[in-house]
Symmetry: C2
Subunit: 385 residues, 2 copies
Amino acid sequence: MTKTISILGSTGSIGRQALEVVDGLPGSFNIFGLAAGRNLELLKKQIAKHKPELVSVATRELAFRLGKEFKGIEIVWGKDGLKQIAENSRNDLALVAVTGLNGLEPTISAINNGVNVALANKETLVSAGNIVTRLAKEKKVSIIPVDSEHSAIYQCIKGKDYSLVNKIILTASGGPFRTKSPEEIQNATVENTLNHPSWFMGDKITVDSATLMNKGLEVIEAHWLFGLDYTKIKVVIHPQSVIHGAVEFLDGSVISQMGLPSMHIPIQFALTYPGIYPGIKSNSLDLTQISNLEFEPPDLNRFPCLKLAYEAGKKGGTCPAVLNAVNEEAVYAFLQGKIRLTDIAHIVAESLEQLDNINNPSYDDILEVDKTSRKIVDEVFLSKF
Amino acid sequence: MTKTISILGSTGSIGRQALEVVDGLPGSFNIFGLAAGRNLELLKKQIAKHKPELVSVATRELAFRLGKEFKGIEIVWGKDGLKQIAENSRNDLALVAVTGLNGLEPTISAINNGVNVALANKETLVSAGNIVTRLAKEKKVSIIPVDSEHSAIYQCIKGKDYSLVNKIILTASGGPFRTKSPEEIQNATVENTLNHPSWFMGDKITVDSATLMNKGLEVIEAHWLFGLDYTKIKVVIHPQSVIHGAVEFLDGSVISQMGLPSMHIPIQFALTYPGIYPGIKSNSLDLTQISNLEFEPPDLNRFPCLKLAYEAGKKGGTCPAVLNAVNEEAVYAFLQGKIRLTDIAHIVAESLEQLDNINNPSYDDILEVDKTSRKIVDEVFLSKF
């Protein structure tokens, strides 16, 4: 059965791998829409190969440039372009793999029109989990996680009721500073922060992995995705990144999902769900080649960002949106050499204390809080350093 | 919903733990029948507590003795007694936890009468897998494994189609001789063979764990339970016994089941299947307390019994029944100090070579082969030593 899908963020890392999955399973997918930003060169190749009906790029100007080459295709742009692709009811599924809060509006539009969403965008659930999950329930739309940890949990729970879950375990590699002293972490350079031991990712998420904020954001995401209380969501440091997630059920039985550190498996799982098709990569997990799996509890003193995320999640309201926005700005400041790595947690903690929390925030509240939070970081905190 | 169950082997280790599960989930079970061997003392307590309608013991004499104390209960005995309890259509489920080929007849009778079977008896599937699984399919009866490794695989596959399985991985602790030299294994005493690192079991199965024949028998069991070719069944040595089994699906994703080395979880899983109820033991798996999981390939040179089991399984016919019977007799000979530990594999290998294989064996063929195999071990091989 051919599934009609659209890919938002087709030239990014997840988008490119999603198109590899599409290529690897001929006849399984029909591409309705592709949305990219500014990488026209790659996008042109993707259009030529996958022949989408609708394409979106970052700006009107880029759209015109592209339009000259592809006469028969409708080309749109900007935020509205993303939305148009996501919400089209021709889609069986929209893969939302754009970065930041750009993912929120198209996700909501897709759900509103009954389009299932494969979600590879953390910010959407972290900042607006209440809105998105409520709407998905109302519209009976599936949100299938693409993140490897959440995909793992999703696969472990599959076919069982969420009320049967005792706890879920999200694993974290621990990042480059897992075994380092507080002093070493404080003096971390951008260079050694970006030296991630097991996954290759973008700079922002790599810094988040080093501070464990990434895992903190995933805890909040898991809270919304699986409807679980924060006391039921545990983080375990697992340097080998072989076990991506585990679920303990009521009866004490623990089901875990494992695999090589590759995004192809969770992407393919989300695109083909609920079907399971042959993996597009032939490499298989050989436990005897790994030979040793280690686990340790996270150290919340050396990695306070994880603690802050739990706190923001438990407070709810707009706190997770503040956490997310402030963290992002602080990470960019660190990457630009303006602050130290350990300042990220200080800035997040102070912001969470100073900004008012809005309970049951609306969509507009979230966008507003996101903007305010970023402004405050730039104007108030960064001026201190 | 109360489930009516019978327990065959109620005074044995699995039977006792099954009744602990029944006690731990009040209102969930109604005990129709209890079958024990000669442990009248414990059986009397079980009868007084669980008030079964039908009870079976090893002999007529024991049945009479018991009958004097429990006037209102029907008491039967011997092989026919086991059968009467198992096949009664009042049962929703019969737990077959008697040892050896004694499990075969009641299992077949239960299936014939449409009673689901929780199977804690290896010999039934090893020796007569073709007959039992064909019948279960025909009668649309579930065989739910109680063995922790097979329960693990069953839980991992649950809700998915068997055709989606790339391979299954059965883990083995490796036994007390995992790191020992061939000379040390050859000179193993009964005492250091029975010193099992992670599970507490009976003597026979403990010797089988030391030779890896236990895992070999489980490979054959898995072949029948899950309908998988032997090339899709892998064994991995995992000394910590935390991961009990894993399944790699078509897409490369690996789902595993983990837990503390306790039989309560698989027993409860089988008894409550398809429901999941709160675990009767409060202990939870804390990965950070385990901290290190190791995996290594099995060494078929030091542990030839595993290789012999794969070979017997692949040959099929009566070979697995020969393997099982000859191994059992050889293990008893070892436990009695008649032969060395390494002689077990020699005797099994020679028997498999010398005895004719019968393809598509009947029930009678299997019983006959079982008898002949044991006789040959006693008369021919043991006289050599």
